[in-house]
Subunit: 398 residues, 2 copies
C-alpha cells in the first residue's frame, strides 16, 4: 500500500458546467459546450498549461494534466464553468480506488479530523456504491490510526469523493465554485463604456458572464490627461483576463475638438454640460456599435452616486441614442453588492482614485428638462461633433 | 436577581440603516431617513403593531413596542433597513445591565453552550466597556451553573450584546439582516411590465429596493383569459407587501382590438408577431409612463430563456420606445441568482405555471431585421392601435 503521507499526485481536473447550459435545447447545448471547450483551451494555452486532449463525457469535462491544482485556479475564471475538482484518476478496480483514496485522505486529514466517503457510480461493477463507501472508509481509518480520524456523515471536516465512471474512477476532496454564467461568445457583442469607475468594469463583467464579448470604449475630454487614460486602459486589461482568445483591444474617443464650444454653450452650468457630453458619448457609441455589429451599449450606471435624480438623468441622456438599447446591469444592485462583485473580479479599488479627478461630472441634474437640452443642442452642430469624435478614434492594444 | 429562566421581555427594536444611507450628503441623508421612518410607520400600522414614538438617535432608530419579535419580522421587509435587533432597554446603571443580561443569556443559553459578551458605549459612565464585558460575563457564568456555559470570544454559540447609550442601555443577542437598499419613494416612479413570469416580479422588486415605486402594467391579448390575468395580479399583490402606504393598484391594457390584424399582417410567423406586439407594448407603456410621470420602464428580460438572440430582440423592440429608457435589472444575472431572489421576495414558483400558457411567444427571432419589422408596421395603423390600447386601460385595486 502507498504510504499514507506522500503528497497525492492529482492528474485530472473534473469540470462541471451543468447549471444553465444543461437546461438548453440539445442543439444549443452542443453549441455552448463547444464554445466552452474552446474557451477553456484558450485559457490553458495562455497560461502555458500542458494537457492531453479534453475528454467530454457523462455531462462533464475531464482534463488530464500534471498541473491539476493550477488548472483549477485558471478554470475558476472561465464563464460557463459551474465547478471544478482536482482529482486522481485510477481504474475502477476496488483495490485501486482504495489505495488512491487512502493516499488522498492521508495527506488531507489533520489531527482528530472527521471525514465521510461519498461515491457516485455509472456503469456495471462487481461492487455497489455502498461497498465503496464502507471499504474505503475502513481503509482510511486503518491507515491513519495515529491521527485518530473519525467518521461523520453529516458535517465532516473532509469529504472524500469517489466517482466511478465505467472502467475509470476519480478520487477527490475539493470542489471549487466557478463563475457560472454562459460561455463567452455565445451571445452577441456589446460596447462597454469604461470611465474612471470600478462600476463600469463590474457592469461589463456581468454582461460578459452572460456570454457577450465586450468592446471597451473610453471617452476623454483632453488628450493631455494621459495618466488617467492609462489607468482606465490598465483596468480594461483586467477584463480581458477573463477572455483569452478574444481580441484584447480598447478604443479611445476624444471630445477634445469641441469641448470648448460645449463649455461655452452650457453657460458654464456643469449640469447642462454633463448632459450634453453624455448625449454626445451615446451618439458616438451608437455609431461605433453599429459599425462593429454590436447589439447594445453597457454602462456602469446605478443609483450609487449622490446624484439626486439618476433615473431622470438616464431618461434625458438615453433619448439621444434611439437605435441601440443602453443596458445598465447594476441598476438593481446595492453598493455593497457591487463592491463584492468587484472583489471577485479582481478590480476592487483598482481605479477608484480616479473618481475624484474625472471630468465627467457626477451631479444632480434636478430641474434640467429635455427641452432645455434640446434647445442647447439646437445651437450646436451636433452631427459635426459626432463626426469629429469618430475621427479621433484610436485603437489601443491591451 | 431575576430568575435566569423566565422569558426575557424584549421591549425595544434597534433598527440600523447605515450602509448606503450613511454615505449620502447630510441633506440627502435627512430626506432618506425621514422617508424610511414614514415607511416603517406605514408597515407597523398595516400589521396593527402598537408602538411608542419612533426615536432616532446615534444614527439608529429605536422603536419601543411590546411586540419586538414581530416588529423585527416586519421590518425585515422594509427597503433601506440594513439590520434589526429585538432588545431589552434598561438604565445605564451597571447593576441593571447585569440583571437584564443574565436574564437574556439565561433564556438563550442551551446545555454546554459557549458565549461572549460584547459592549459598545456612547457617553460618560463610571465604568468602561471592558468592565461591562467582564462583570456581565462573570454574572452569566455564576447564574447558570447547571448549564455549564463557557466563554469563547472567537466563535461563541451566543453573542450577548450590550449597547450603552448615555443614560440608557440595550441588551440583545440577535441581529436580523434587512433587505438593504434605499427607502421606497426616494427615487422616481417607474412602470413595471408584468407578464406571467416570476422574472418580471423580481425585476420590479430590485428596482423598488433601489427606491423606485412601481406602477405595475399588464398586457393581455384576450379579455377572456381571466384566470391568467387574475394570477398575474395576484402576484403583483406580493410586490405591494413591500410597499404599504403606496397605492396598491395595477393597470391592465388589452391588445384585443387589433390582435387579428397583427396576426394577419405577420403572415402567421410567430417571430414577427412577437416583435410587433412587443413594440406596441413598449409604445403604450411609454405613453402611460409619461402620463404618470414615471421615469422609465422596467422589464424582467434576461438571457435565461432559450431564445437565441436576446440582445438582438431587445434592440429591434426598444427602437419603438425612444422617449423613455427600458431598464432590465436582471440582464447580468444567472438563472440560479434570479431564483434565489425570487425566494427571498416570496414569489418563487408563484406564477411560473403561466409560462407555458402565455401568449407572448418566447422564441428566437434570429433573422428578423429592423427593416422587416418597419415594413410590416408601415402596412398597419400603429398610432391607432396605440390609441385603441390606451382606451382599453383598466385600473385594478390590489
Amino acid at each position: 500500500m502507498v504510504s499514507s503521507k506522500s503528497e497525492p499526485r492529482f492528474d485530472t481536473v473534473i469540470v462541471r458546467f451543468g447549471g444553465e447550459i444543461g437546461i438548453k435545447a440539445a442543439w444549443t447545448r452542443r453549441l455552448y459546450e463547444r464554445k466552452l471547450i474552446g474557451n477553456i483551451k484558450a485559457f490553458l494555452k495562455q497560461r502555458g498549461i500542458e494537457h492531453e486532449a479534453l475528454n467530454r463525457k457523462f455531462g462533464r469535462l475531464y482534463i488530464r494534466t500534471a498541473d491539476a491544482q493550477e488548472t483549477c485556479q485558471v478554470l475558476n475564471n472561465v464563464f460557463g464553468v459551474s465547478s471544478v475538482s482536482p482529482a486522481i484518476r485510477t481504474t475502477s478496480q476496488l483495490q485501486d480506488i482504495i489505495e488512491n483514496s487512502v493516499q488522498v485522505a492521508g495527506s488531507a486529514l489533520k489531527e482528530k479530523h472527521t471525514f465521510a466517503v461519498r461515491c457516485r457510480r455509472v456503469g456495471s461493477h462487481p461492487y455497489t456504491s455502498q461497498d465503496v463507501c464502507r471499504t474505503v472508509g475502513q481503509a482510511v481509518l486503518d491507515a491513519d490510526a495515529k491521527h485518530r480520524p473519525r467518521v461523520d456523515l453529516n458535517h465532516p471536516d473532509l469529504s472524500l469523493e469517489v466517482e466511478v465512471r465505467e472502467d475509470e474512477a476519480y478520487v477527490f476532496t475539493e470542489t471549487l465554485k466557478g463563475p457560472g454564467g454562459l460561455p463567452l461568445g455565445t451571445q452577441p457583442k456589446v460596447v462597454g463604456l469604461l470611465n474612471g469607475d470600478v462600476d463600469s468594469l463590474v457592469a461589463c463583467w456581468m454582461v460578459m458572464k452572460r456570454g457577450c464579448p465586450i468592446i471597451p470604449l473610453h471617452f476623454i475630454e483632453h488628450q493631455q490627461n494621459k495618466q488617467s487614460q492609462r489607468r482606465v486602459l490598465e483596468a480594461a486589461k483586467t477584463l480581458f483576463k477573463w477572455a483569452p482568445g478574444f481580441p484584447a483591444k480598447a478604443y479611445v474617443v476624444s471630445h477634445e475638438a469641441y469641448i470648448a464650444e460645449i463649455n461655452k454653450s452650457s453657460n458654464s452650468t456643469r449640469k447642462l454640460k454633463s448632459v450634453l457630453l453624455r448625449r454626445l458619448t451615446y451618439r458616438v457609441a451608437e455609431r461605433l456599435a453599429e459599425t462593429w455589429r454590436a447589439e447594445g451599449i453597457v454602462t456602469g450606471d446605478s443609483f450609487q452616486k449622490p446624484a439626486g435624480e439618476k433615473l431622470h438623468f438616464f431618461r434625458i441622456c438615453d433619448e439621444a441614442a434611439t437605435r441601440l438599447p443602453i443596458h445598465r446591469p447594476l441598476i438593481g444592485l446595492d453598493a455593497p453588492e457591487i463592491e463584492e462583485l468587484a472583489e471577485r473580479i479582481g478590480v476592487s479599488g483598482k481605479i477608484s482614485v480616479e473618481r475624484k479627478r474625472q471630468k465627467v461630472p457626477r451631479i444632480s441634474i434636478r430641474g434640467i428638462s429635455l427641452k432645455t437640452v434640446k434647445d442647447a443642442e439646437a445651437k450646436l452642430d451636433v452631427n459635426k461633433m459626432v463626426e469629429l469624435s469618430l475621427e479621433s478614434l484610436r485603437t489601443v492594444s491591451l
